[in-house]
């Protein structure tokens, strides 16, 4: 089977700093990583390949340096990497991103064989929207399974997939037809380390690099900033509340019960409410 996994290279969020004066993100020197949510998708794809045979293609859209993340994915065991890079893609919102990725997936299908499953992570740590996966599915007319906790079975002859999908109040066991798009839930597996052979192969592998034109984009105006219906008009730091917190003392002279008395003075109804709650336990 052929599986495509969409990944995104993101700045390591733990290391991001915001410029105190200009309110811009200081990206310089911030290391990049594969969006951690995508690793669950990648591992799920690799496991399916191991079980059913076939190939895993990883795809990313980003600057040329995003090749690093693709190479990393190859060391985990992916078979092929495709980098979609073009200045026309810059500034894309979720709608424009899903257009570019869907177009590239179609091209991957024509070049390397039609995918049976397309995977994405649940969301990214920088954008956090969880909208690109469903967007790709819609554009490719694929069925979608989001928030998947487990793929229970794939029947390549009958062309069906069964999966457990997390919903608000429980788990749906869904069956649908291949090809489909799956967004994988976090914490559902653990990315493998990849062997020596994978590392060697990854180091030498050629990364398929496509411009918008190579990927078959027909309408540049649907890409990047131009293809994005949303516009970021204002970026700003949150304002502090008018008054800052009242700082109260905790010491021998002001022990915890004095603090609590202070608290109940501020919020007179709180004591009754807490007593009721405390009794419930």
């Amino acid at each position: 089977m052929h599986i495509v996994v969409c990944i995104k290279q993101v700045p390591d969020s733990a290391q991001i700093r915001v410029h105190p004066v200009t309110n811009t993100i200081m990206r310089q020197g911030v290391p990049t990583i594969i969006n951690p949510y995508d690793l669950f998708a990648l591992e799920a794809a690799l496991a399916l390949r191991d079980q059913h045979g076939g190939e895993v293609t990883v795809l990313t859209m980003g600057p040329p340096s995003a090749a690093d993340s693709l190479r990393k994915a190859l060391t985990f065991g992916a078979d092929r990497a495709v980098l979609l890079t073009d200045r026309f893609f810059a500034g894309a919102d979720t709608l424009a991103t899903s257009y570019a990725l869907a177009t590239a997936i179609r091209q991957i299908g024509e070049t390397f064989g039609a995918p049976d499953v397309v995977f994405t992570g649940k969301q990214t740590i920088d954008g956090d929207t969880a909208q690109v996966g469903p967007g790709i599915a819609k554009r490719l007319n694929l069925l979608q399974l989001t928030y998947v906790a487990k793929i229970s079975g794939i029947d390549l002859t009958g062309r069906t997939i069964t999966a457990e999908r997390r919903s608000e109040g429980g788990v749906q066991i869904l069956q649908t037809r291949l090809p489909c798009l799956v967004t994988m839930l976090e914490g559902t597996n653990e990315i493998r380390r990849g062997g020596m052979a994978d590392a060697l192969r990854a180091a030498r592998a050629e990364i398929v690099t496509w411009s918008a034109k190579d990927a078959g984009v027909e309408d540049i105006s649907k890409c990047g900033l131009r293809g994005s219906p949303t516009i970021v008009k204002r970026v700003f730091a949150p304002s502090a509340r008018a008054e800052k917190a009242v700082l109260v003392d905790f010491s021998e002279r002001a022990p915890a019960d004095a603090l609590i008395a202070d608290l109940f003075k501020r919020q007179p109804k709180l004591e009754d409410e807490l007593s009721t709650l405390a009794r419930g336990y």
Binding site: P11, I16, V18, I25, L95, S98, T103, R106, D126, G127, T129, Q131, V132, P134, G135, A137, K138, R139, L143, Q144, T146, S167, G169, G170, V171, Q172, I173, L174, Q175, T176, L225, R226, P229, T230, I231, V232, K233, R234, V235, F236, A237, P238, A245, V246, L247, V248, F250, P255, A256, D262, L263, R266, Q267, L270, E273, L274, L277, A278, G280, Y281
Partner: protein, 369 residues
């Protein structure tokens, strides 16, 4: 590439133009809609929270507020529609069909896309739940319109555009996003971000029903079964009245027990900042913040939490925020109401004991007598 389903053709001009040049065919798009989410006969409270936010937008725009109820035929869906009037709806659109009993993307996407194309709202709000995000992404892509996810603030501008504010990328920043030249302007909001409006008893007003127009064979995805969560597995963090949370400042998973002990004495739910989930100290359903739960308790006690923006947006709706932090310059003191600059590892057990003494029925009797 073939464009999915019928979307209004984008009329010339650059999409990213930051000027408002609303194409002619979008000018008839009016009114504010809220998608009413139900699962197994239960309306998700986020839908009523959105009705509160939607009411304000509609009043500002001087337009109507409509609830869109999609679900199986029968009492639950009817009831959801009539309830919507008690939460401020001027009218309700209902798509009721047995095929909509379980949430399935294909059928719900068709139902919502069809009503949007037929009745043309200018703003469409959905809850950022697993269902809402699954649906919003498909509907926005079908309609080729803008969607702003996980908003923390919604407002309308002088020119009537929706200003959707959300935390942005990696830092202590917020951004305001517009969908100037496409309709509807779509946004999702997470549960508890908006306050729950008061329910006011009202009789149902105008209800407009719309057919789904599908048969079971049209829907490829089948629900083989549904395993509801057992209540004991589910934390009630988002809707708790009192929450105690700990952050990295606690230093170790053992010290996190101090948070749990205080929580249990005052009948609170416990929560944490994201790094504790990432370290595996606390399970992910306890995370508070932008990528965890949003809370609106009467009392929130945060111990050893710095107050990063992603945490702040999850707790700002609390009535009273008490922060315990060794650093008097910690950002959390910018939005907490009461701050205690001290070592949480010392204060937490002392608070637990003092609350225990004060709240025990025994001591209450004594005080009363």
């Amino acid at each position: 590439m073939s464009e999915p389903t019928k979307a209004p053709a984008a009329s010339g001009g650059s999409r990213a133009s930051t000027k408002k040049e609303l194409p002619e065919h979008f000018k008839s798009y009016k009114h504010v809609w809220v998608f009413i989410e139900q699962e197994r006969g239960q309306v998700h409270p986020v839908s009523w929270e959105l009705m509160g936010a939607g009411r304000k937008l509609a009043d500002k725009l001087k337009v109507e507020l409509a609830a869109v109820v999609i679900g199986p035929e029968g009492e639950a869906t009817q009831h959801a529609a009539t309830e919507a009037f008690c939460y401020g709806a001027d009218l309700a659109y209902v798509v009721a069909d047995p095929l909509l009993t379980d949430y399935r993307n294909e059928a719900y996407t068709k139902a919502l896309t069809d009503v949007v194309n037929t009745y043309q709202p200018e703003i469409l709000l959905l809850g950022a739940t697993t269902l809402g995000r699954d649906l919003a992404g498909s509907v926005a892509t079908t309609l080729l319109t803008g969607l702003t996810a996980d908003c923390t603030e919604l407002d309308v501008d002088a020119d009537g555009s929706l200003a959707a504010t959300r935390p942005t990328f990696g830092g202590s920043l917020l951004c305001t996003i517009y969908t100037l030249n496409f309709r509807p302007q779509m946004a999702t909001v997470r549960p508890r971000v908006m306050p729950m409006p008061d329910r006011v008893e009202k009789i149902a007003g105008r209800i407009i029903t719309h057919p789904l127009g599908m048969i079971e064979d049209d829907i490829v995805t089948k629900v083989l079964s549904f395993l509801p969560d057992r209540d004991s597995n589910k934390s009630n963090l988002a809707y708790a009245d009192v929450v105690v949370a700990g952050g990295l400042g606690l230093g170790s998973p053992e010290n996190f027990q101090l948070v749990r002990q205080l929580a249990s004495v005052i009948g609170a739910e416990f929560g944490c900042s994201r790094p504790l989930v990432q370290k595996g100290w606390v399970s992910s359903d306890r995370q508070i913040g932008q990528t965890g739960k949003t809370i609106r308790p009467k009392l929130y006690i945060a111990a050893g939490i710095s107050g990063a923006i992603q945490h702040r947006v999850g707790v700002e709706g609390a009535d009273l925020i008490v922060a315990i932090n060794t650093d008097k310059n910690a950002p959390i003191f910018d939005f907490a109401h009461m701050g205690i600059v001290t070592d949480a590892i010392r204060l937490l057990p002392a608070l637990t004991e003092a609350f225990r003494a004060r709240l025990s029925p025994h001591s209450r009797d004594r005080i009363a007598s």
